[in-house]
């Protein structure tokens, strides 16, 4: 079932603002199906690290090093050609589109005809426990439901790697554990390498992979044994 996905590799990645480095060069390799958690206080550059990998880094930052997914070097590629999915704190479902249209937006155009598209969207909704929700307005969904739709939207675009920018932090405790399990199960079953940034140790525990502390001056590095 699990498709083999390439590794996500960070090779000496470092961000700086006006010549001041935010953290020591980062060396890491995340295999498909695994999760690396990057921890650190707010302002240490965790979210900017993800923006750098996704290609949406604010131009005030300077990035060094290289990011690779499998054999493809991502540096310099525009975000839309990186095939790197990202989930934020907010679900960021497009408020002008129905739940189903949000998912259709992500589904590649090669999936045709319309009937097949609808079938895949319905399947994704069913996998999220939201069968029959396609025509709903996202604003009428609960926070947990919206978060699950956001994940399905990211996955439908067939990314090669998944970035998680504290996507659990705004959910209340009961929902948080549920959604965490939901995200990691889906990522694992698809063999996606996952990079999670968080300041919640419970996130790191649930992720089950290795943990890097950002913000240390000492060089941080991690490679799977």
């Amino acid at each position: 079932m699990a498709k083999m996905h390439p590794d996500l590799q960070l090779d000496g990645v470092q961000l700086s603002v006006g010549g001041r480095a935010l953290f020591a060069p980062l060396q890491a390799r995340v295999a498909g199906g695994q999760c690396l958690t990057v921890m650190g206080p707010s302002g240490c550059g965790k979210s900017s690290l993800l923006a750098c990998i996704a290609g949406t880094l604010d131009p005030v930052f300077e990035a060094q090093g290289s990011v690779r997914v499998g054999g493809t070097v991502l540096d310099g590629l525009p975000p839309e050609r990186r095939r790197v999915g990202i989930l934020f704190q907010d679900d960021l479902l497009f408020p002008h589109l129905s739940v189903g249209d949000n998912l259709a937006f992500a589904l590649p155009a090669a999936v045709r005809p319309a009937a097949l598209r609808r079938q895949q969207i319905d399947a994704a909704l069913a996998a999220a426990g939201l069968a029959g929700f396609a025509s709903r307005d996202p604003a009428t969904l609960s926070g947990g439901q919206r978060a699950r739709v956001a994940l399905m939207r990211t996955l439908l675009a067939e990314p090669l790697a998944l970035l998680l920018d504290e996507p659990f932090s705004k959910l209340d405790t009961a929902l948080r554990a549920d959604f965490r399990r939901f995200v990691f199960e889906h990522a694992r079953s698809r063999g996606l390498p996952v990079l999670l940034v968080s300041h919640d140790p419970a996130d790191a525990a649930a992720a089950g992979g290795a943990v890097i502390e950002l913000g240390d001056v000492a060089p941080a590095s991690w490679t799977p044994v």
Binding site: P59, V84, D90
Partner: protein, 593 residues
């Protein structure tokens, strides 16, 4: 359901009554006075145009309703082509300016250039249409600056080419000149609407899903912001269909557009032409309304099409190139606007400027000195009209906004939709901008003659107020409503009176938006051609009315001095309004943005 309705009715009634009681405070009257100030002249003016169109104008002894005026209009030579020209230029200018503006924002808004773009475009908005149109004519005439730039080296033209540009029957110079102003206007409106949604994060998501920057903007952001720019787009459409001064300067003369035809007939010494003129103005009104409806249909179709694209998930590789093209074209327009102003400046200082020299061969101040005598009076009138109408409008707008703030915790706001009232008010504010000026100004003039006020300074101030008020309100309302009410509460709890809080806390903090809104209002007043002409009965001369009149034939050096001075006033006021708060608050980082 019925219960809620009953509740609402009760609320309405209570609101109305308490408003009646509170009207003891003078602020309570502000909305009514403001609405009356700009809607009464319009309603009276519309009636005064519609009735003569149906053959009724007792002042000229016409006491029976008939369709003679319409028959004369339809049988007038060139009527059909005038109508067609109106439609083609108006619709084309609107469609092109919207597409260009959206392309520019889609391509640029995430870059730091966007903020600078806004700063560059604002001065173009301050420039009066007619001055820009005159400068643009100097640019595109066969012997204009553009032809000189490439002659004779590239073209081999030893003489100005024998082609028609200004006044071309197709009306393209009219469309181009409208784009000069409307693209920056719509760009600034769209940038403003973007502040209200979390566009950056949503775009990041759309791009991580495989969409290029421009396509992501059109599919994700545009559907969310279009509601906020719909009224400005409608105003552009109505204006483009009914503009008079630009069409007089750059449009074809025979037949002209419908609006120009109506003005020409209204001005005819033979008063019998008033009837077909009123019919033409009424037809223009109907045309504008029809086009607004058709535009609504177009919006629905465009939305459907975008949704279709969204559902198909097609990632378009060319959208970024299209956005770049739009940006390049808009930059070209901005360049043309700047070159137009420069052409005016050069001509006003030229002693001798022979074809095909790129620059004048001899310079002089004489053009200015010789015009000085005749410039002074209209310049003073222009300043006075602008200052008085802006101050009156500011007074009314501030009273309305303060009244709104003090009534905020009302039953309606607490229970129902607090924005509903504002949305209705917004439509009312746009009424003067959605109606063709010709359609109500003639009627207004009839009314003014009736009360013996036509040609009077205050009559012109009132006519200006009709346009100055909505613009001032529209640009000041958002920053005023965004004011953090905790400042007021803090000051009140320190024992300051409401009056003192207004003068010492609120106004100083909001000084920058107040001054910029005043600059906008002043620029609107300076640019008004038709309202000055009609309410002034041709006897109140401003730089604008004189420049437009001169543009049809005087020496370029003379026209240039008038048009340049006309453009200089609003630009100076705008610069002052931008610089003053910056200087006053140079040691206050929180205010000196």
């Amino acid at each position: 359901m019925t219960d809620r309705l009953a509740d609402r009715l009760a609320d309405r009634l209570r609101d109305g009554l308490s408003a009646r009681f509170r009207a003891a405070s003078p602020l309570g009257w502000a909305p009514a006075i403001t609405l009356a100030a700009f809607l009464l002249p319009i309603v009276a003016g519309l009636a005064g145009t519609l009735l003569p169109a149906m053959g009724w104008l007792p002042a000229l002894g016409a006491n029976s309703f008939n369709l003679t005026a319409w028959r004369t209009l339809v049988q007038a030579p060139g009527f059909a082509s005038a109508w067609q020209l109106t439609l083609s230029t108006g619709l084309l200018a609107t469609l092109l300016s919207l597409l260009l503006a959206l392309g520019v924002v889609a391509g640029l808004h995430q870059r730091p250039a966007a903020r600078r773009l806004g700063e560059w475009m604002a001065p173009v908005l301050a420039m009066p249409h007619s001055a820009l149109a005159i400068g643009f004519a100097f640019l595109i005439l066969p012997s204009g600056w553009l032809a000189r730039a490439v002659s004779p080296t590239l073209t081999g033209w030893a003489l100005p080419p024998d082609v028609s540009t200004v006044g071309h029957p197709s009306g393209w110079p009219l469309v181009a000149a409208l784009l000069l102003k409307e693209v920056p206007y719509l760009v600034l409106m769209t940038l403003g609407a973007l502040n209200q949604i979390n566009a950056g994060a949503q775009l990041a998501v759309a791009r991580s899903l495989g969409y290029g920057p421009a396509q992501a903007w059109f599919l994700v952001v545009l559907p969310q912001v279009y509601r906020q720019i719909r009224l400005p787009v409608c105003a552009v459409l109505a204006f483009s269909l009914s503009v008079v001064d630009v069409a007089l300067i750059l449009g074809p003369g025979n037949p002209p557009t419908l609006a120009v035809l109506a003005v020409r007939w209204f001005a005819d010494p033979d008063t019998r032409w008033v009837f077909p003129a009123a019919a033409a103005a009424t037809l223009l009104l109907l045309t504008v309304m029809g086009c607004l409806l058709a535009w609504r249909g177009l919006e629905v179709l465009a939305r459907q099409w975008l949704l279709q694209r969204t559902r198909q998930g097609v990632r378009n590789a060319h959208s970024a190139a299209a956005a770049r093209l739009a940006t390049a074209l808009a930059a070209g327009l901005l360049g043309a606007a700047a070159a137009s102003m420069l052409a005016l400046a050069l001509w006003s200082l030229a002693l001798q400027w022979r074809w095909p020299a790129f620059l004048p061969s001899a310079w002089t101040w004489d053009n200015w000195l010789r015009q000085a005598g005749s410039l002074v009076q209209p310049a003073a009138t222009t300043l006075a009209l602008g200052a008085v109408s802006t101050l009156l409008a500011l007074l009314l707008v501030l009273a309305c906004l303060e009244n709104e703030v003090q009534r905020r915790p009302s039953a309606r706001a607490a229970r129902g939709d607090p924005a509903a009232g504002r949305r209705h008010a917004l439509w009312l504010l746009y009424v003067p901008l959605l109606l063709p000026q010709v359609a109500f100004l003639f009627g207004l003039q009839v009314l003014l003659v009736r009360i013996g006020a036509d040609g009077h300074f205050w009559a012109v101030v009132w006519a200006h107020l009709v346009f100055v008020l909505p613009y001032l309100f529209l640009s000041l309302a958002d920053p005023w409503r965004a004011f953090d009410a905790r400042y007021t509460r803090t000051a009140l709890s320190l024992g300051a009176s409401r009056w003192r809080v207004f003068w010492r806390v609120k106004l100083p903090i909001l000084l920058r938006p107040v001054l910029l809104s005043c600059a906008v209002a002043f620029a609107v007043s300076v640019g008004l051609y038709l309202p000055t002409l009609f309410a002034g009965a041709g006897r109140v001369a401003t730089l604008t009315t004189e420049a437009v009149t001169l543009s049809s034939g005087a020496d370029r050096r003379v026209i240039a001095t008038w048009a340049l001075l006309q453009a200089a006033f609003p630009l100076l006021v705008y610069a002052l309004a931008a610089a003053l708060p910056r200087w006053l608050y140079r040691h206050r980082q929180g205010l000196a943005h």
